[in-house]
Amino acid sequence: MSESDALASAATGMRVQAATLDVIAYNLANSATAGFRPRHAAFTLSNEEARSLFNTSSAQGPLRRTEVPTDLALSGQGYFAVATADGVRYTRDGRFCVDPHGHLSDAQGNPVLGALGPARFPNRARIDDQGRIFAGGKLVDRLRIVTFEKPCSDGQDGLFVAPPGCVPQRAQAHVQAGYLEDSSVDAVAEMAALIAAERAYEANEKSAARTDESLRRLVTDVPVIR
């Protein structure tokens, strides 16, 4: 491997570690956001070119009791469906509230979808573990909780977009009313990854410095020996 190759490799390595730190920063910044799923970066090297792949983790976050009837958590795979201006989006964030028309809406104000359009949530209604909404003993609506064969991709505003060509299917996830799913970011793992990225960056920097040193020798010492 020539010296310039070594320099390029070290630079690529530093770039990869910087991108890793970027993902760690994103995860740690959201370590207290309900329903948040951390991302993990994977890199493949081909022809000195680093290609990054971001995988959103599907690990279940811990459930925390809030005792608010409109706080919902999903245990198991699945998503709530919300209607946005750009179409149907999916989320695990169950911080819902009731809008002036008596429909459930998410924290951003998007309506949460039930069986037929926005889910109705009359006064003093309750939600069972199947996502059915009961008011005064009568079934009012059923939340649309779906899953896909392939993992969802990240869309705008922290909501997930259905993978292309996949039809949403009814999910088996249980709905826990009065609970919230906390962020599933593992702070310990992220801090360990942070240290690893920092040291790997340093190692690449050292290797670049060594290459620089041997290039300097080549330029200054070799003509002298002659």
């Binding site: 730190l21 920063a25 370590s31 009731v98 505003d157 990225a197 620089d212």
Partner: protein, 243 residues
Amino acid sequence: MNRTLCVAAAGMATQQAVLDSIAANLANVDVPGYRVSRTDFAALIGPDARVLAPELRLAHRLFTQGRLDLTNDPHDLAIDGAGFFIVVTPSGGRAYTRAGNFSADATGRLRLPGGAALEGVRLPAGTATFTVDERGKVLAQVAGRSGDVGAGRIPLANFANPSGLELRPDGFFYQTAAAGRLQSFSAGAPLAKIKQRYLERANVTVVAAMMAVLAAQRAYEANAKVVQAADEMLRLANNLERT
């Protein structure tokens, strides 16, 4: 690397906002009828450091039941269940509150310390004592008259979305479009029980607030560590070119 710094800074700002709202909750722990603001409505930070805050128009207050304390003062009223007392503020507006530390004035109105009068009640002149039943019916015992004298009924109100109510600096909730339709409740289908001689405390749980402080502090620290790491890596990059 710059983006890393921006994301971490946004994360720190979010935790700072969470701490601010915990501080506001703890400061009001002794205010009767105070409704806690939710600290789990932290913003989502986008990968490009965009802050996607939950809709701030709604303050995301929690309308759970606060603790009921027996005070033995007949003027103290508490709501056991959902709903609000309807009061007329000194400026003449209609407002809603859970506070029940009333006292009677010379005209027989029940007023809160700020001067807002409870709707629906006027005690007759010479009232010695009065009782309020669970449904809000007020009966006064007047000196010189035998038997109870009706002194009105305390109405309660509720909204489709109480979180949409606007909390003004005077401590009262005001109706907004986001709160939805006002639902008044008649004596036949009561919304909640009214308890006389009780006061409802703020629904702040001190232990939960302290736990939230710890969590926010540690999350802030984690973001600070990211800033440190990014800084260190930038330093290393600058060291590449030696003079």
